[in-house]
Amino acid sequence: MKTLTGQAWCRLKTAGSTVMLCSMLTLSACQPQLPEAVRSGLVYCSEGSPESFNPQLVTSGTTIDAISQQLYDRLLDIDAQTGELKPGLASNWQVSSDGKVYHFSLQSDVQFHHTEYFRPSRALNADDVVFTFNRIMQKQHPFHYQGGGNYPFFQSVDWAGLVANVSAEQPLLVRFELNRPDSSFLSNLATDFAAILSAEYGKQLLQSGQLQRIDSHPVGTGPFRFREYQKDVLIRYYRHNDYWREPAKPEQLVFDIVPNNARRMAKLFTHECDVVAFPRIAELELISKRADVDVQESTAMNIGFWAFNTAKAPFNQVKVRQALAMAINRDAILQAVYFGHATAANSVLPPTSWAYNANLEPLKYDPAQAKALLAEAGYPNGFSMDIWAMPVQRLYNPNALKMAELMQADLAQIGIRASVVSYEWNTFRRKLGDNEHDSVLIGWSADNADPDNFFRPLLSCSAAQTGSNRANWCDENFDRLISQALLTADQKQRRSYYMAAQQYLSEQMPLLSIAHSQRFQALNSQINGVQINPYGGIALAGASKEAK
């Protein structure tokens, strides 16, 4: 019936383009049987290009989503539901009684990717683990300075100071020797950044003198193998057929790079994308009305905050920081910026964390008292300051510019003249790293379930040195609390340290915690087996497409 009317229409019109149009329409009406690689292929529309194909070198969520869970495995994994550690490439592990020596037994017969540029001759063994971690720790390692010699996550947790030695005791037994006990060590091994590389591939690259290819032409043990990358266009992976776990369901996985939000949504509606990263919160209602699209949500481990450059006057005064924090109407922000899809934050830790301090007194919105505090600090007439608003949309802060404008109005009420500053994202981060800002609206997404992940990378002195401490805050008392928490494995004792640390933070106010946002993901309703991972990158190996 459909084709008949189509043909009739075609006959009526003779102009060339209309004939073409008609044939296209009949084509779209009857889809031919497609080959497996296309039919079972999955398209994930991502919001940006990856910076590298090696998770050791990056912290950006975009890159981690695109590479970590698809190409690599880690020694340990995090259970997405419970947040507990579970075996990954290491089938089991032992800790010595003093907490300084860890032994990991590796899974046997784990195959690396067989690609156009590398043919593995052996399965995974302890040498690969040693190679992976020595690259990070040893400056004389041939690959250490490849890609700049920066390992941001590992530097923020002081990996080189913590791990004394990694060695292969037996082909499938790795020994980690630490300088001091550290209760976040295992959690850090389970993050997306601790991906295991192939030592044999490294050797091949050394021989051929193409060291830089280790980060651009990846070889891992993950469920997909690398096929091609066209910058700003797409990343193409194929299924790793010898995967040691259950093989991935899609034969092909393509990351279609679509930075424009509206265009990404349009591609979801036309079914050019199966899964879409970061739908705009403002559009969620519209999306969820469609029958062919599902929206998933999960409380993610993140925090959006307003950090003060505590090394600069007047932000070096606690009273000024408290006054600023009190002057902000956070309820209005939650409505206008997060559209109610976030919970107000009372601490940097989300309430779902086991170390969350529920006894903290909630911060009040009180412009009068804020003004009084300012006067006490010696600024009865206020002052001028900059609010840096990040130019990109992130889960923890979907619209920093709008938030900054709201805060601008709030601050005006207590006599502070705030101007909003923004730069292109790379420049923005570089200038932040140089601490050129007065205050900044930014945030953090956790990489694992350990509370330490919210403290050390954000507010420790070592983070202030590497430039990732946005408050530029280095406080001995705070540092002592969080490092003591790491020395013990007893959870009760650790909790008490973290409770105290949170209490101390709310008094010192180096940053104002604003909100813990929910993470959203929109996908074609024919896709099964994709879940949001609250602790890191998305995993797409279990995704399958079937008509409901």
Partner: protein, 338 residues
Amino acid sequence: MILYLLRRVFLLAFVFIALSILAFSLGYLFPGDPLQNFTGLRTISAEQLPLLIAEYRMDQGYIQQYLGYLQRIISGDWGLSFASQQLLLVEIKMLLPATLELAAYALLISFFVGIPLGIIAAIKPDGVLSKAISALALTGYSLPIFWWALLLIMVFSLWLGWLPTAGRIGVLYEIPYQTGFMLIDILLAQSQYQQEALFNALRHLLLPTLVLATFPTTVMIRFTRDSMLEVWEQSYIKTARAKGLSRSQVLYRHGLRNALLPVTRQIGLQFSTLITLAMITEVIFSWPGIGRWLIDSIYQRNFPAIQSGLLIISTLVITVNMLTEVLHTLFNPLARKR
């Protein structure tokens, strides 16, 4: 004729030299270190510096530097892109065919639709059909292309769901790069899903081509119509009619040939507009061509890419202009004598 061609070639060479001087001076006019702008290297180490200064003749006068630049351009060493740190010439080779493909199809449509419609409109200038075609042409001529493109996407992609919104082919089809022209590459690729891929690529091609063809088609309609009407008034047409030739004979033998001559020339003149419009079309349909790349480069302050992008596009436009001019002269004995 040979003298004419020589004159053209000479003019072309002169224009190229002027262009390359402009491109060269951009290396200095752009902000930042000229050496970085020329090499495309983001960071230059202390060991590299003296070698590069010698290679790029930065220690010599501007004229020497320019000659070195010219040599590099001719030998294919166009420097690196700031953004990707890949060879610019390689990137351009990957992208240019996509733009040419799009522009070529749009131009073809404008021929095969525009010229016949223009002739029809000229046959009975006061008829309803002629009026309708003229009205259509005027509408198409004044449509802002980005609005028109978005409208088509709204209707055919989002509302009806018939056509894809972006790209050259469904991303799940892997077509290895050979010529860069998608349809040819699909035919060359020995893949199992050749036919499906071809249809998929055609569906992707439809909307951008339609959008890009709109403007040149309307120009072609108006131009053909005016040119036909003018020729129709000539005394030799009246003579031919008076001698008893039929209407269609006159139209074909005497009218069309003479009326289409200025139309060939029009192609060359329209080409630069076409390329500009292709850039907008590429941005809207995420078409991975040179126009989108150039606009991205401007956003990213990718100076080496802007430099070579300008050079390649202006060279292209001027060459096409020149070629149509030569063609026009070949077909037109009057112009040859001049």
